[in-house]
């Protein structure tokens, strides 16, 4: 059993509109426990309620103890501080560090809060990096410093989570983290240029995990955390395909499903209804009579979905296939989804607004195969932690 410590403060919760607390989902398992630790009653209650039914995620309140620090006690700390660093000179100068640090910067910023010790051992700590541009409140600042100190004292590796722009990471934090999780190649290069080994920086590109660390809210990405969808329990190793129904191009849809059925890769197919009736027949009747058997043969899970769930399903899918051009396809491409119009009846058409037109089943197979390959390069927080865990 591995244990991961995950401190969360109010500022980071607010900055990510609460999404940070979803992050443990992809890490926690019967073999891995995640302890979210916070000093904030608000964060404690929110995360506690959210994860109350998950046995692998615990929420711990680290109750702050406010201190009144008399002047002579501050001086006493300074008296110990100076001998601790008396030998450190500012490089390229003969100026002792303690002289510029002890009497004002250290003495004047001695924290007014203490926090209890950690209970038990941890194998790793996830640390949301603060922003130099948004100084944390005193309590939060003291909390993170204490937790980092305790982690270092116990030799717990620290994995930094990049939430704010890399430019704003306080310099000392860059030096104390053991591993870095960033969201782009640019961020990786930024840290590499600052002397961090390439092998210690990981780019997270799983859309859901990235969004947990994002400070910009996106109403469509919010759908990734839809409670209903969560029950489907999509896994990262399965291909998720959204097929859009069409009243006329039934044969083409059957071709698509047959092709999917020929692939042994794990998959889930969402079959999206369009909400039509044709004379006396409902769409459901047509699907039941003509499509359902093909769906059963895809060698994977399938769900027939109402047309109102289009955007939600689109956000969850890796590949969207429609037999005709519909506007949501170009929206899908904006979220890095593979959006395809497959119809052998259509003439050859160049890509438009990120949507690929295919009129040949072999080409569709190629595109699906590429999509499967690309899916395998997705990196989730769980993938990264498997690599860094010690």
């Amino acid at each position: 059993m591995k244990r991961i410590l995950f401190p969360i403060g109010e500022r980071e919760m607010l900055a990510t509109q609460g999404r940070l607390m979803y992050l443990p989902e992809r890490i926690a398992s019967p073999d891995v426990t995640v302890d979210i630790i916070t000093y904030s009653n608000e964060v404690f209650e929110k995360t506690g309620n959210f994860w109350k039914n998950n046995n692998n995620i615990n929420v711990v309140l680290s109750d702050p103890n406010p201190l009144v620090i008399p002047a002579d006690f501050r001086d006493n700390l300074v008296k110990i501080f100076i001998p601790q660093i008396k030998d450190i000179l500012i490089p390229d100068t003969d100026l002792s560090l303690w002289k510029v640090a002890a009497f004002d910067d250290f003495r004047g910023h001695i924290s007014s809060f203490t926090f209890p010790d950690l209970k038990g051992d941890y194998d790793l700590m996830l640390l949301p990096f603060p922003s130099f541009d948004e100084p944390p409140p005193d309590k939060s600042d003291a909390f993170y410093s204490t937790i980092i100190f305790l982690a270092k004292e116990r030799g717990i590796p620290i994995v930094a989570l990049q939430i704010y722009p890399v430019f704003n990471t306080p310099v000392l934090f860059v030096k104390i983290a053991d591993y870095f999780i960033v969201k782009s190649e640019f961020e990786r290069q930024y840290y590499e240029q600052r002397g961090i080994e390439k092998g210690k920086i990981f780019i997270l590109n799983d859309i859901k995990d990235c969004y947990c660390l994002d400070t910009i809210e996106d109403v469509y990405k919010n759908l990734l955390f839809d409670e209903q969808i969560k029950k489907i329990e999509l896994t990262s190793d399965e291909l998720v395909v959204l097929i859009i129904n069409h009243p006329r191009f039934r044969a083409q849809i059957k071709e698509i499903l047959k092709l999917l059925g020929s692939l042994n890769t794990p998959k889930t197919v969402f079959f999206l209804k369009r909400g039509y009736h044709v004379r006396d027949l409902s769409e459901d009747q047509i699907i039941n009579d003509l499509i359902r058997e093909d769906l059963k043969r895809i060698k994977g899970r399938f769900f027939i979905a109402e047309d109102g769930s289009l955007v939600t399903l689109l956000m969850l899918s890796d590949l969207i296939i429609s037999t005709s051009y519909i506007i949501p396809l170009q929206f899908a491409s904006k979220y890095n989804k593979v959006a395809v119009v497959f119809n052998p009846l259509f003439p050859k058409t160049p890509s438009h607004n990120g949507v690929t037109f295919i009129n040949n089943l072999n080409v569709l197979l190629e595109v699906i195969s590429l999509c499967i390959s690309a899916k395998k390069t997705d990196v989730s927080i769980g993938d990264i932690l498997k690599k860094v865990r010690v």
Binding site: K86, P91, K99, P135
Partner: protein
């Protein structure tokens, strides 16, 4: 000399810095100085007061160029690599938040290298800053020393409580201009360099009393605050701990026993958290709706309109209220341990809470006479003189620093306006001249003379007594031997030594103050052939009195009394490696002080300086160095002449095989007074950037570091 064309760089920080420094800087400008206000880029807008006063200023970051930026990046990264392996070692570090640590490191390194560029570009002649207790004060001091620029500092508030930072208050300062005796006692007890502490009074308060007490000003403030006519105004001043009290029961007790004859104005501590203040405001207004609560109001306006002041704990404003002539009442600090002002007899107690008897009695009968007398004495000790001339005194000192530095730039050693070099005189080869000022204690002088007659074995020697006390002359007429009597006046040891040297005929000159008992001089003449030399001086009980002269953490000379003392080569390197603003190295190291070693002598043969009342050199060396500087305090003339010797690459040697005793200390300290500061300032001004230094603060601070 005026300050014309002198470039004075003034470090501006928080408003309480500005209020003390600005009047001095502006006066310096009036006297012709070019004043450059410079500041750091902090979250707090330090430039605010400057802008309000229409002053131009520079940010240190204005001096950041590409090279500097690269240097900052590289140094910061290397420092943090060191720091990360250290900052988790001691539990105390976790109480200094990593975020604040980051801020500190970023700022400190940026400021250091930008300030260095500032110096290189602006070439200031003098730095002024409020104090050395923060990183800006230290960075400025360090670089000022590195570039040989005098550094004048002042005092931050009333030093009423012990602070470890006082031990570093005078480290780099050429002169530290303080309020008065009380501050000197406090700083002295923390090992600040007494010689660098000069009384000037309070540069802000002097003018503030005048300005704020103006009747029009008082009327404006009273109206602005809406104070009803006929009320007695009681201004309440809070220390930081009292300013954190949000327990309604406490304030309820506070108001007990008050009546509507008085109106309270609460001047909250500015460092209290706004949220705390707002809570307290709610409570107090609820209990006493008429009371006025102020968080950021100009405190001096309040002292000016106050009839009475009440201090809750220790505050600088309490002291200042006394300077404004306001009767003071006090409650002890929240820990209840000590009622500082009441104990000193300058305030009347209103403790426990709700006990206003003394206040009402004073309203009826006035301040009790014994309290009034105590206040006078307290103000004298605290503020030297409340005569409105503090700024003038500060300017005089700055002017004198510039004057003092002129000889070092070419005029050479000695008194301005007089012959700078010792006159070359016919002398008798091989003769040794003992030059002794008489002093005013015959017994002490006789002890010295007797020791010479008993212990000097040289074939040809003479004694030159420089008589500065008429009463001694008669006693000398009864003494036989080869002795010259030279008449002189005063207690200036340099002058007396110089007069003696002029009259002496020996090839070798040995200067002794009366009270030194000469005992053993093996190898002395060899030692002074090409050097300035001293010997071990012990007390009559054989404990060390002066085993050479060292320089402490404050760049200040002291008599070595530790028999384990070893000269530090690094001190000599410090002396030798001073750089000018263009980065050129002055005084390149030369044997035996350079890295080439000690030229065959062991460490114990060398000192940064020698003396303690005995210093010897050949006439040839005395003439090349020049005379003793007659404008320097008696106890500093030996280190001064040794610095001059070193500047000329003349060795300063300590001869451990010789011995003399200090029967009684004479002359040292006799010419030091609060008013006579020039003879100390000159020493520190003259050798800025060239002093040796012992960087071992732990050893220097000693018991001050005991927890």
């Amino acid at each position: 000399m005026n300050l014309k064309r002198k470039r004075i760089a003034c470090l501006i920080a928080l408003p309480h810095h500005t209020k003390f420094l600005m009047p001095v800087a502006l006066e310096a400008r009036k006297r012709g100085a070019e004043v450059i206000f410079f500041l750091t880029m902090a979250d707090y807008p330090f430039e605010r007061d400057l802008i309000k006063n229409g002053q131009k200023f520079r940010y240190l970051t204005d001096y950041m160029d590409n090279v500097t930026a690269e240097k900052i990046d590289s140094t910061l990264s290397r420092l943090l690599d060191i720091w990360k392996s250290r900052c988790f070692k001691w539990d105390g570090f976790r109480h200094w938040s990593l975020f604040e640590q980051s801020r500190f490191f970023n700022a400190a390194i940026e400021e250091y290298f930008c300030l260095e560029r500032f110096i290189e570009k602006e070439l200031p002649d003098l730095f002024i800053a409020l104090h050395e207790r923060n990183r800006w004060g230290k960075l400025t001091g360090h670089l000022a020393a590195k570039y040989g620029i005098p550094y004048v500092t002042f005092q931050e508030g009333d030093y009423h409580e012990s602070r470890l930072s006082f031990s570093a208050h005078t480290e780099y300062s050429t002169a530290d201009l303080i309020w008065g005796e009380a501050s000197r006692d406090m700083l002295g007890s923390h090992k600040s360099a007494i010689d660098k502490l000069i009384f000037i009074g309070n540069t802000h308060l002097d003018n503030a009393i005048k300005t704020y007490s103006n009747p029009l000003n008082k009327k404006r403030v009273t109206e602005e605050l809406g104070i009803p006519a006929g009320k007695k105004i009681v201004v309440v001043l809070l220390d930081l701990e009292w300013a954190a009290v949000i327990d309604k029961r406490v304030w309820f007790e506070f108001f007990k026993g008050t009546n509507n004859e008085i109106i309270f104005i609460f001047k909250w501590h500015p460092n209290a958290l706004l949220g705390t203040y707002q809570k307290a405001e709610g409570i107090i207004k609820d209990l006493s709706p008429e009371s006025i609560m102020l968080y950021t109001y100009d405190p001096y306006s309040l002292l000016a309109i106050a009839d009475y002041c009440v201090t809750l704990g220790k505050t600088t404003l309490a002291l200042e209220s006394l300077a404004f002539g306001r009767p003071l009442f006090a409650l002890p600090s929240r820990d209840g341990t000590k009622d500082y002002y009441v104990d000193m007899g300058v305030a009347q107690s209103v403790s426990p809470l709700g006990n206003w008897a003394n206040l009402y009695r004073t309203i009826e009968e006035g301040v009790p006479p014994h309290i009034g007398n105590n206040i006078k004495e307290y103000l004298r000790k605290s503020f030297y003189r409340l005569d409105g001339k503090a700024i003038e005194r500060a300017i005089d000192i700055m002017k004198y620093i510039f004057e003092s530095r002129q000889p070092a730039r070419g005029k050479g050693q000695g008194t301005r306006g007089k012959e700078q070099r010792a006159k070359s005189k016919e002398h008798i080869s091989g003769r040794v001249s003992f030059i002794i000022p008489s002093g005013d204690d015959a017994e002490v002088l006789l002890a010295t003379l007797t020791s010479l007659s008993q212990n000097v074995k040289y074939p040809d020697w003479e004694v030159v007594i420089v008589v500065n006390d008429e009463n001694i002359k008669g006693m000398l007429s009864g003494i036989s031997g080869d002795m010259q009597i030279v008449d002189a006046e005063g207690h200036n040891l340099s002058l007396l030594y110089n007069k003696g040297a002029e009259a002496a005929s020996g090839e070798y000159l040995i200067f002794l103050r009366p009270g030194i008992v000469y005992f053993k001089d093996e190898g002395l003449l060899d030692g002074i052939e090409n050097s300035v030399a001293g010997l071990p001086l012990k007390n009559p009980d054989m404990t060390p009195y002066c085993l050479g002269i060292g320089y402490d953490f404050n760049f200040t000379p002291y008599k070595i009394q530790n028999i384990e003392y070893r000269a530090q080569n690094t001190d000599n390197e410090t002396f030798m490696s001073q750089r000018d603003a263009k980065g050129n190295e002055n005084n390149p190291p030369s044997p035996p002080f350079g890295k080439g070693g000690m030229g065959g002598f062991s460490d114990e043969n060398y000192r940064d300086a020698v003396g303690g009342g005995f210093i010897a050199m050949s006439r040839k060396i005395f003439e090349s160095i020049g005379r003793f500087d007659e404008e320097i305090a008696n106890h500093l003339i030996e280190p001064d002449i040794c610095l001059k010797a070193k500047e000329l690459n003349i060795k300063v040697r300590y001869l451990p095989d010789c011995l003399a005793f200090n029967y009684k200390e004479t002359f040292f300290g006799e010419d030091v007074s609060d008013e006579n500061w020039k003879n100390r300032v000159k020493f520190f001004a003259k050798w800025v950037g060239k002093f040796p230094k012992d960087e071992d603060f732990i050893n220097f601070a000693g018991d001050l570091l005991k927890v």
